[in-house]
Each structure stands twice: as structure tokens, then as C-alpha cells.
């Protein structure tokens, strides 16, 4: 039986480990940004739940949401889902 004299390489497995900003700083893709208006926020956290990139954080004290503009792509979903207070949304899109 012949054996090739080769180095036995380890397999490369297709594993994706979660990292911060694996596609780069996606904040620079933005043309509009969500602006937060604190007095209209009812702390329902729908924006936090809906953000496709997880760029909206809620701090440990359960206070107002906070947007990480380094990674926010400006998609506007948070603005769309925001119920606001008395029909006044707590988020609105403004030009960059």
C-alpha cells in the first residue's frame, strides 16, 4: 500500500462566531439617521426588538433606548414601529 508523504491539514469548518460589526462600520452607509426624542418615549422597546442589526441598546437600568450610530445603517424600521406618545413618535428620520 502506497502512502503519499503529505502533510495532513486540519479541516476548515464553516463556523461563524458572533462579533461586533462583522461587516465593518455600517454606520457610514447611512443617508438618514433616526433621531431620538426623549419626551415622546414610553419605553416600550419595540425599536430595540425590531432593529435588524442590534444597534439599539437598552442600558442596565431599563431607561431610554440608545442608538449606536457607528453601526446603525439608517433603515428606519425603528421609526416605523415606534408608537410614541399621543401620536408623537419618539424617533424620526433626519438627513445625515
Amino acid at each position: 500500500m502506497m502512502n503519499e508523504d503529505i502533510e495532513l491539514k486540519d479541516p476548515v469548518l464553516p463556523l461563524g462566531r458572533p462579533t461586533l460589526g462583522s461587516a465593518g462600520e455600517t454606520g457610514d452607509w447611512r443617508t438618514y439617521r433616526p433621531k431620538f426624542i426623549e419626551e415622546n418615549c414610553i419605553k416600550c422597546y419595540k425599536c430595540w426588538l425590531s432593529c435588524p442589526e442590534g444597534t439599539i441598546r437598552v442600558d442596565a437600568h431599563g431607561e431610554y433606548p440608545y442608538i449606536d450610530y457607528i453601526y446603525c445603517k439608517g433603515c428606519g424600521i425603528c421609526v416605523h414601529v415606534c408608537p410614541g406618545r399621543k401620536k408623537q413618535k419618539a424617533l424620526e428620520m433626519i438627513p445625515e
Binding site: M1, M2, L8, D10, L15
Partner: protein, 406 residues
Amino acid sequence: MCSCLSRKEEAESLGNDSRVEVKEMVQSLEKPQTKLMTGAEAVATAAKLSRPQVIAAYPITPQTKIVETLSGMVARGEMDTEYINVESEHSAMGAVIGASLAGTRTFTATSSHGLLYMGELVWWAGMTRIPVVMPVVNRSLNPWNIWPDHQDAMAFRDAGWIQFYAKNNQEVLDLTICAFKIAEHHKIWMPVMVCLDGFILSHTSAQVEIPSQAIVDAFLPPFEPLAMLDPDNPFAHGSLTDSEGIWEQRMSLIDGFNNARVLIPQILKEYTDKIGRLGDYLIEVTGNIEEAECAIMALGTLGEEAEQTVEFLSEKNIKTVVFRLRVFRPFPRKELISLIKRVPRLLVIDRAVSFGNAGQLAIEIQAELFAHKVDVLFYQKIMGLGGMDVTYADIAVEVENILKEE
């Protein structure tokens, strides 16, 4: 998992009444036994001895008695296995992939149309390196039928799976146990198909020597995952990646098959040393190669049928030799060329066709002959499609025709 030792201890700790019965059980675990069984039952027995932790399978035609036998073993408590009865082959492979990533030894079985239906996930398992073992009972494809040929497995020769073709029920059992060790070797880490001819092996009873559980346990240690899903250390498996990522994985798969080419004979040798019979070769040679006027090459049972042809023709004073490829993926190029160089004529028999060209085995051998500038008279023949009977006498006629032509 219970080992044989713990059963022995269990036996010793029991009262006198049950001692005789348990003693018999311990003996049956330690000694090899020869039993009459079909190929399907041989696969199931091998799977049982290999202690898979998860089996997922779809039980309806073209499925064979493999999963019926295994589900019975699980139901009777003879196996410590999670058996998932799924609604299709596609789901069977899906369940097995998930279970493998959760860190378990996995097993499923399929055949013909079942394999086609499983197709997408067969490729998924191959391309993303899931070390599952799956016997494929080779049966013809459309129109609806149940007869043997290699068309189903050949349709998946490029899917990144190691492919073995067994020649008899004994080899089915031996290769299935080896398949787990090969699939789970950390330098190989890829799925393995053990192909057995439908009806000719799967439904035919013949004698099989069954190794004891203790000796199989000594050969095949528990599953050791290379990567395992873990909520505390999360990862996504096979998620969307860029071209460079795919390229890296494909190159790694090519390396993996090169590793397998080196490691498979070593694992087969270890099996032979510890358990017996099998032999470490990738290509089995039967007959006198130095005297042979013509070599016959085939896969699966046609290989053993050709061994009978060698005896049959030697009575007519025609010298032949059989090269039976036991493993088709990785393709054992070097061994093949060194053998073919020593014979004047070569007849390659295929039990499948790549329509628009020729039999897959013939195509691949021709490529090697060209690459290595081997001077041999090459003949090819397609036989036994759709379960047409091929006897040793039929193969002998082909050889005699070749010799007559000149």
C-alpha cells in the same frame, strides 16, 4: 453509554437466579458470532455495535429493512439511541445534521428516490463537513422501480462524501463500523456513504461474522466533536459567507479527501488487526496479476461476481484478474495506476451511466490512463442497469469477446 465491562459487573452484583442468563449474555457480547442475515440486517447490526446516539430516518419505500430493524432495537431498549421518525428524507438528513452539530454520533439510511429527495441536504452535509454515516441501498432511479444499480449513489459522487462500495454482507458490516471511525477522524471529518447493492445484498441472506460489542468499543471510541453547538459560546454553522470563505472551505475539502486517501488504509488496517478479515486495501486484487491476459474492474457485488469469473475462466485456461474498487471517493488513483500498468488489457464494468458520455468508473479510469500515459487496451461495458441479472458467465463472455477481437 454502557460498556461491556459494566454489564459484567452488573452480572456479578446480581443474585444467583439470574446469573446463568446474564452469563450467557456476557459471553455473547465477547465472542464473535456467525449469523445468517440480509445486507440490511448487517448494516443495522453494524450501526447498533457502533452506538450512534441519534438516528433519524424516513421509514417508507424505497427505505429498506435497515431502519425497521434499528427502530425495533431502539424500541426494545437494546440501543441507547434517540430515534427520530421524520416525515421525509430531506428532514432525516436535516435532523442528523443538527444532531451531529449538537455533538452526537449520527446515522441515517436511504436508497434511490429517497436519496434524491434528500439531495439538497446531502450536499449540505458534504460541503459543510458533517461526519454522518449513511448506507445507501443502491437502486435504479426513474421510472418507479426498486431494482439494483449504482445510478443513485453515482449521482452524488461529487457531493463531498466518502463512498464505499461493498461486495458482500460481511463487508457491509465491516465497512459500516469503519465508516464511523473514518468520518469522525479529526483530519477527515466528513460524511461517509456505504453503498450496498439493492436486493442483491440488502435482501439476500448470507453468513456474517459479527464482532463482539467489547471489541468494537475498543476500536471505536465515543464521539469526539470537533465543533459543538454551545449556548455559552455561540456560533452559526454554514451561514452566508463571501467568496473567499467558500473558496477556503472548498480547498479544505480537497485537502480532506487527500488526507482520507492516506488515512483510510490505516483505519482499515487497525480494524483488520483488532477485529479481522477486512484488509487494508482500497482496491482488492483477486487472481494472478502477472499472468493475467485481461483485468476486470467493477464496483460492489459485480466485483465479487467477477472473482467467480476468474475461477470460471481459468478452467478454460484463460487467465484473468479482478481489481475491485472498494472506495470510489476518494478515488484511489495511485494504487489504480500501479495495478493497471501490469496488465495488457482492462475491462471496466459499470452499473451506472453518465448519460451523454459513458459509465462513471470508465470515464474516471480513462482520465487516469491518459494522465499517466499507461499503455493498456481499454474496454468498457455497461451491465446490470435496472437490476438486470449479471452472472459470472455473462462477464466471462465479455472477456472472451475481447480476446477474440484481436
